[in-house]
Symmetry: C2
Subunit: 705 residues, 2 copies
């Protein structure tokens, strides 16, 4: 139990870091009155949105909590509620830090690029550490109470089901947050651009545009709160699934079982320490290479994690050469037995995969490489060729990450079977604190630029925030690639948990998961369909809500000519309220898709072809959703990032620069990429996990009933 | 053997129909000198392109033919060559009919809508019947020679491998034709639009545009020749795979084996008769509902096929209630034994699936329904929202066809196991004559419109050809949905052949196809990647080649000001030649992807994890490519069709009509949809089949070596 307590301590360390750094950030200069006024409006809008979103989610969450309690018992019910609430808290804190740091970053950027970077990055780091810390604490404390206080065996059904329910709570809230926030931010963004830049011919972030505050609110509730909830979910599910798989597969480890179940928590704790250290290395060092400064911080974290992970593994396992047990769950070769050393290499593999995915994402979304430049170039021949090339890049961008993930699966499996894959995924997620820090920095600088523009600060300030923001586009894409990549591995772990559970609960059923079983193929096809349908709903929602924004802004312009003249203030709150209502309404149905689909597929196929085939189709559905979802998510997030930066590249003076025909075409591409990369694409990650977790819970419920 | 001879007779009937109808079409009025001159240029360009394409393909084909002969023996080599040559012939004939009917349709449209429809549809019907007839003859004659003349047992390896090699030849040529033709047609189309409509501000099909002939050539080599080769391939593979699966699974049927193997041919022959009858029912009957006239013809064919299929099945099997054998290849329930009656219901299911897919495709691409109208409406707010809504529709359009295919799989499997699925697919393809007729009609009317425009005919003529062309957009989308839907079923049949062959050739290996085997997941992921990579290559190729066209046209305008003034003729041939070279160059690499990927995956995984896992990963790759490819193809073909008709809907006077901002946005959407629906999307169908067939041949080669 000592190891769990150490993990709890390290989780608390992250919280302490968050509080201390918050103090620093909040003590920074909040700028002049006009800036504070604008920031106040953004803050108010964001809080109002989140309040409404969480009220709606709370209602759905309550219904599900009751169902979980009825079918799986009160402990699972409590686990679900903890996961759900902390997922919400992660988003809430992220948003609150973000809406206070934006104006301070704008103010700091008046003094210099380094000052702006420091403030924005610190704000991101607070969110990052709190997400990782809360996620670690959620699992560690829950596990401690169940095993240490209530004395359940670590591999008992109560603990396993409780952990799965905890993950479910986190996932369910995060899909709402990702999707609701994603619809909000992009409806406001697209709507504001269409009616402002395109129709009225006023610049981005012009205070005369009634949708401009909504656009800035969107950065906070979508890119920050939604992202934080998403990564919280990814962390909890991955670490939780590793523990569950350990309990299910290695139940006969004896005295080593408890250390092995605590080990994922310890690895997470160790990397919180290295992430905190890494944040202090993010500095320009004289130059202006912002991306380089980011990389420095990440690299320090990754390198320091190597010895520290070794250290905590040795601490937990003692002798690293003891064989920890073969993986007897399937007949494939290459997984006879593994040692602590093998697991260490799997963890290293996780770090390498993270590094490669970051590198690949930068290649596909950075302005220095072929993909973005090819889109920029194709903008010269018009809107159509820009979109064609962007779509081509988005399709192409799936290839390298897939190869990396496939190689990761093969190597981890060769080293230590399914547990090896779980450790690779856990090590990936252990770095979440640092990765979220890099990402959460983005919306802060984006907002800072908006505030600088609206408050009429000197152009040099906007230039600095723009430079910071361009890097933010890439880091945002990186987090999404990282989240979906880890989801690829985590989903395999969840699927293994599903098949192991199935054998446990229904030992005599003989479910045939072979590709030769047509019901498996049916499940794969239906699973692969889910991300498509989900993506369609998300894209349509953004289009529809953006259309509402356009109409509202047109109405405001028509009803009050003083707005365009600059003599009277537009009604910002009205637009924020409109987008809020639209986003909340549109997020419900698609979010329920991954909850209901597994239930429907199981019951329909069971009815038609018997329970064994029902379970086979359900299992295949779980893999189908990852096989389909991985590509949909990768292509959307990379493609969207590439479009965005192609526009930025042209705005830097290439292919005719701002105002040229190429720029107009690039704006179209950027608009198309918006819902791709910030609404539909990233929400696929929690969707995959929910489908898997619902299946696991359904198994337990069916066995109990 | 009598049954095979009857099938050969029915195949010849299709050829006779083709010749007789050709005579009628060619005797029609070919229009005035100017029209003939233009048609001559198109004809010349199309023939030049096809000559070059086939020369290149012949080179690749020769290499592959040698490899097939070396590894699998001379009979398989001959089979490959037959498939390859006839696939080429199908495309060649289709193109030749098309380039002669276009001008005659333009001429007939001067006399009335019914006259134009009759001529264009007859031209389509010739191609349709020749594709179906040649495909049927290819298999039937080859089978007759092997079994009837050379006296091989119908289920001997020689016959099985020979049929697979025949399918391979057809597929390999068709992927080149689909992709090369697709790149040609869309590079010319996009390039011509960009530089003509957008840059120079001249209308579509304006004779001053040097790319205008290339655009019209493209309709013939892509939408006609490429499509014909594709459907030839689909027919041969589906019917061939059904025969192969019968040989592999039902080898112990005794005297019923030969009739059972001939039955797919007979069904094909029967539906040629009903298709021919159906063509005579395509008439307007006083009104102007062109789509209705098309449906009438299709419906007559489908309804007449019901009794005729029953009749030929009874002819072959005698007693329709005799149990034909259980499907023992897998442990799934629901396939204990089946009768001729069960197979009849499976065939009926195939007809129903065809009808449903046609209906769904019309819903998603027709101007009367929500999807196209939603895209048209979203064009009002600009390029960006048009593309967003189009992408949303393209994602959504995968849902219903997938559900139909999944339901088809379940019902057919419940009725008669894997053979049931094969019969459903065979019945679908049996209607190919009629479906191709509906499709091949499209490029003829498209060209007719172009010729009317260039020859300066009265506007009323163009109005009539436009009305015919709008329906062509939907029928083109229908054929693609139908081809990819049938590919979903056919690929399952091929996968079953793969697993059965695997057990036959490597009885002791114990390949584990369970989803619990990580190498299966690796295969699924890599398989699903193939259509993405392939799509990316196709899209990029079109973008690149279209860019070349733009530059060439700009050069011509700059070098010869007389062109825009209308005083001198542009150098059409130069542009045609440029697109030809670009298309041929760009088609090679992506076409080889599905040939080389299975080989690479098998050898790499075998090296890493042993031969059993190599075969497991390869098998999973085959399903991965269909799971991934189905969605990519459906979304691209439906989305592209919807974009095209959204533009047409606006041009009909909605949302501001021609020249409005909404129209400009819709033109962008149409441009984006072009390579989606005519290059990358449809080529996925032969790609799926090639991957599967290469795996089957590799198995045989590995076992022999």
């Amino acid at each position: 139990m000592d190891l769990v307590i150490i993990s709890i301590g390290l989780g608390l360390l992250a919280i302490v870091y968050g509080f201390v750094t918050s103090k620093q950030v909040l003590s920074a200069d909040p700028g002049n009155t006009r800036m504070q006024e604008i920031a106040g409006a953004i803050q108010e809008g964001a809080q109002a949105y989140l309040r409404r979103q969480y009220t709606t989610i709370a209602f759905v969450g309550l219904v599900v909590a009751v169902l979980v309690t009825v079918f799986l018992g009160p402990i699972s019910g409590v686990g679900f509620v903890i996961g759900a609430i902390l997922s919400g808290v992660a988003g809430f804190i992220g948003m609150n830090i973000s809406v206070r740091s934006n104006v301070r970053t704008a103010s700091a950027a008046q003094r210099g690029l380094q000052q702006g970077l420091t403030l924005a990055f610190r704000a991101g780091a607070i969110t990052g550490m709190l997400v990782a810390g809360l996620a670690l604490l959620a699992i560690a404390v829950f596990f401690y109470v169940l095993v240490g206080v209530m004395a359940f065996a670590p591999n008992s059904r109560t603990v396993v089901d409780g952990l799965v329910a905890l993950a479910f709570g986190a996932s369910l809230i995060s899909i709402f947050a990702r999707l609701g926030g994603g619809i909000f931010t992009k409806a406001a963004d697209v709507g504001a651009d269409l009616v402002g830049k395109v129709e009225a011919g006023i610049p981005e972030d012009d205070p005369r545009n009634p949708a401009v505050i909504a656009d800035n609110v969107g950065d906070n509730v979508g890119d920050c709160a939604g992202m934080a909830a998403d990564l919280f979910e990814t962390y909890v599910v991955t670490v939780g699934a590793t523990m569950v798989l350990t309990a299910l597969l290695l139940g006969n480890l004896g005295t080593l079982l408890m250390p092995m179940m605590s080990l994922p928590l310890l690895i997470g704790g160790a990397c919180i320490v290295t992430s905190i250290i890494g944040t202090y290395f993010v500095r320009l060092g004289g130059g202006t290479n912002i991306m380089g400064a980011m990389y420095k911080g990440f690299l320090v974290t990754a390198v320091l994690s190597v010895p520290l992970i070794w250290f905590v593994m040795q601490l937990a396992l003692g002798d690293m050469t003891v064989v920890l047990g073969g993986d007897a769950t399937n007949g494939a070769a290459g997984a006879v037995g593994f040692t602590g050393q093998d697991l260490f290499w799997c963890a290293m593999l996780g770090l390498v995969i993270t590094g490669l995915i970051i590198w690949i994402t930068e290649y596909y979304t950075g302005t220095n490489y072929r993909p973005v430049r090819s889109i920029a170039k194709s903008s010269e021949t018009g809107h159509g060729t820009n979109v064609i090339q962007g779509l081509a890049i988005s399709l192409e961008a799936t290839a390298l990450p897939t190869v990396v993930i496939v190689a990761g699966i093969i190597i981890a499996y060769q080293l230590a079977g399914l547990i090896g894959i779980a450790y690779a995924a856990t090590a990936m997620l252990a770095l979440a604190g640092m990765v979220v820090a890099l990402d959460a920095y983005g919306p802060v600088t984006d907002n800072a630029g908006g505030i600088a523009e609206m408050a009429g600060l000197d152009d040099s300030v906007r230039e600095k925030t723009d430079a910071l923001d361009a890097v933010g586009n890439t880091t945002k894409a990186v987090t999404k690639g990282y989240a979906i990549g880890s989801a690829g591995l985590a989903a395999l772990v969840l699927f293994a948990a599903y098949t192991t559970d199935l054998k446990h609960f229904f030992p005599g059923l003989g479910v045939n998961f072979s590709l030769e079983n047509p019901y498996v193929i049916v499940g794969l096809l239906l699973g692969a369909l889910l991300p498509y349908l989900f993506g369609a709903m998300g894209m349509t929602a953004v289009g529809r809500a953006a259309g509402d924004v356009v109409k509202d802004v047109r109405d405001q312009f028509a009803g009050n000519p003083g707005i365009m003249a600059g003599t009277s203030r537009p009604d910002y709150a009205r637009t924020v309220d409109l987008v809020t209502r639209a986003a909340i309404k549109e997020m419900i149905l698609p979010s329920l898709l991954p909850v209901l689909a597994p239930v429907a597929v199981y019951f329909v196929i069971t009815l038609v072809a018997g329970q064994a085939n029902g379970f086979a189709a359900l299992g295949a559905l779980l893999l189908g959703v990852i096989v389909g979802g991985l590509f949909v998510a990768l292509s959307m997030t990379s493609g969207g990032g590439a479009w965005d930066n192609a526009k930025k590249y042209i705005e830097d003076g290439n292919h005719g620069g701002k105002g040229s025909d190429a720029h107009k075409a690039a704006v179209t591409g950027d608009t198309v990429g918006d819902p791709y990369k910030d609404t539909a694409g990233p929400a696929v990650n929690p969707m995959i996990k929910i489908t898997n977790i619902v299946a696991l819970l359904m198994l337990a419920a069916l066995a109990g009933g």
